[in-house]
Point group: C2
Chain length 383, copies 2
């Protein structure tokens, strides 16, 4: 299979978006049938159905349910950006993205029992509404980050697994997760770790729900959840037990690059780890970051991106660990003037700009982050 034709820009390698989501129709049906969060609901005074995912939205959902035609409609509009493959392709064209590595967005099927979830997972993993196919010169499109079912997904377009932080219900440091991680590692399928639960509402205080929109749960809760999940895996020894395991951490690792030094220091200074420290055999957080972890480049700043690269080994070694993403269809433009969802999205521009500022536009490292790494790591041109 050859590489897709070059686009009109000066970019040498095609842009790959490794963090981009869709909800196929089978999944929307499930969410629409639900009465508690997560759910999809119609309101008479809202043009689109509303997608209500966050625990932080419970108060506004309750208020809206009570009010009927509420003045403040909870959740976010479930536009065609969430559900339409044609829209995904248009979005890709607008932003010069050659390949999208699709994943189902949160909360996946966390709200179902394993028995209920398994057949639905299989159905979604192979949904015809996604028209899944490998990238080709004809229409460079989509590989997929599927999600775990009772058996591993073996279909040819699957290039990895998207996984939330709950695992089997008690976190990814659960020993019962080890066989799953081992099977994924043996199948050469990286795990894309993605947040959903954020943090309990209480930590954001009594004013957050009314006054700060979704900012605190999304800006802080999500990356903190990811950081906690992967640190729990590290402390439980998952990376040592499954040395072939490869993780891709959403949102540039949450906050892991910034906090890695503090985690390492806290381990060095905790009686619980004194023996492992003394024996000198333990692998540090830095070792794991360099050897088993990739980060998406969805951090919206040059400051964050540089820290992510440095934590991943720095220089070209570090740049080889970062992969561009958009988080589409989340974070659409807001406001009456810039609010054209068919135009360019500022959320995408912020991340592309961070890559250009950190490495220099067109530099080898920028090309790697914008697409070259994903092609290699996710074997995008392999059958």
């Amino acid at each position: 299979m050859t590489q897709p034709e070059e686009t009109a820009t000066k970019r040498k390698t095609p842009v790959v978006d490794i963090h981009t989501h869709m909800y196929p129709s089978e999944y929307i049906s499930i969410l629409t049938s639900r009465t508690s969060i997560p759910l999809v609901r119609n309101f008479p005074n809202s043009p689109d159905p509303r997608l209500i995912l966050l625990e932080a939205e419970v108060p506004s959902l309750e208020k809206a349910t009570h009010d009927g035609s509420p003045s403040t409609i909870p959740g976010r509009p479930l536009t065609k950006h969430f559900t339409s493959l044609a829209q995904k392709l248009a979005f890709m064209d607008t932003h010069n993205i050659a390949i999208s590595v699709l994943s189902l967005a949160n909360p996946w099927l966390d709200f179902l029992s394993p028995t209920e979830a398994s057949p639905i997972a299989t159905s979604i993993n192979t949904s015809p509404s996604l028209l899944l196919r490998l990238p080709s010169p004809n229409r460079p499109l989509t590989a997929i980050l599927s999600f775990v079912t009772t058996s591993l997904p073996k279909f040819p377009h699957c290039r990895g697994i998207i996984l939330g932080t709950s695992g089997l219900g008690s976190g990814l440091d659960d020993p019962d997760m080890l066989p799953i991680f081992s099977a994924l590692a043996e199948s050469n399928l990286p795990v894309f770790l993605h947040p959903h639960y954020g943090l309990p509402n209480s930590v954001f205080g009594p004013r957050a729900a009314d006054e700060y929109g979704h900012v605190l749960p999304l800006a802080l809760g999500f990356p903190m959840e990811t950081t906690i999940a992967v640190t729990r895996m590290y402390l439980a020894g998952v990376f040592d037990a499954v040395p072939k395991l490869r993780m891709i951490l959403a949102h540039s690792g949450g906050t892991l690059p910034f906090l890695a030094g503090r985690i390492e220091s806290c381990v060095l200074h905790d009686q619980k780890f004194a023996r492992a420290v003394k024996e000198g055999t333990r692998r540090t957080v830095w070792d794991v970051l360099r050897e088993q972890v990739y980060l998406d480049a969805v951090v919206y700043s040059e400051v964050g991106l540089r820290a992510a690269v440095e934590a991943s080994g720095g220089g070209k070694e570090g740049a080889a660990k970062l992969m561009f993403g958009t988080d589409h269809p989340f974070f659409p433009p807001v406001g009456s003037e810039k609010g054209d969802e068919d135009g360019e999205w500022e959320s995408v521009g912020l991340n592309a700009q961070a890559v250009n500022r950190a490495f220099g536009e067109g530099s080898e490292e920028a090309e790697m982050v914008m697409g070259g790494n994903a092609v290699k790591v996710l074997r995008l041109y392999e059958q």
Copy 2:
């Protein structure tokens, strides 16, 4: 007042430690009298009393209370490093620290009602056991970051205020905090924001308490608490309402430098802030970081320190915002060989090393971070 005599090293400016705590005897008495966390308790099989501060320690405290002479003793030893001024001076000599800017450690008097707390706060702020005095050539020692009482502390050695994230009980975005912030700003007293509560135990999962020691609450809970608190202040408009307010954020801002881009993007993409964004009058998180925020350099890695400097404006402007600290008496050496608490502390070395690596040992920026900035910002040589 002249500067202290130069020490034996090649450093041009004296090293100032702006993040260093003590518990005066008056405070230890209060903690010893308590039956719920935070508290100090003696166990028959522990040489030192135990300091038990974290909510995460509730299970181990309950187990230890039940067992009498427990095999796992909760909390940490309350050594002379926490209580003795002579020990603080010895620690400073060992680490070539010329000036310590002392503060009471968490949880301050958060567990008392304002009526109960007020007289005790005054007593601790002026405790003779701390022998507070301004730095002098004779014995370069201590300014203090005091804490808020019903009236502002006006004694001459006070150079700022240490403040937890709870404020008057519902966070620092509480409108009732504004007069306090205004008064502090008018008095030119910066606020040293310091965590204590971390995050609810539940987020660390069922294995944390037994298996990971204090790592998760200290390495992740603490910096996340700080980040949430200051972001709530930002979203509530506190920095705009009190433009003279100056904050010093513990642990290099928690995770603020890394997440600032994501916070900014989430604001840009939230309907709640659409009008402010459209009007173009709002100050960004980056503006606030550059104009009203200082960060300590307690981040234990070059990666984190660089991100902190870049988020603060980068280059010399950014370096002017960072101030070295040790977090003494927390994070003493662990283990039988390195566990000599009278020797050099690795926790101190990690942070000094990060400064040297980020800026080059002896560089102008390194000297600024290691002491020069603190002398200016906290007016350490002014009467």
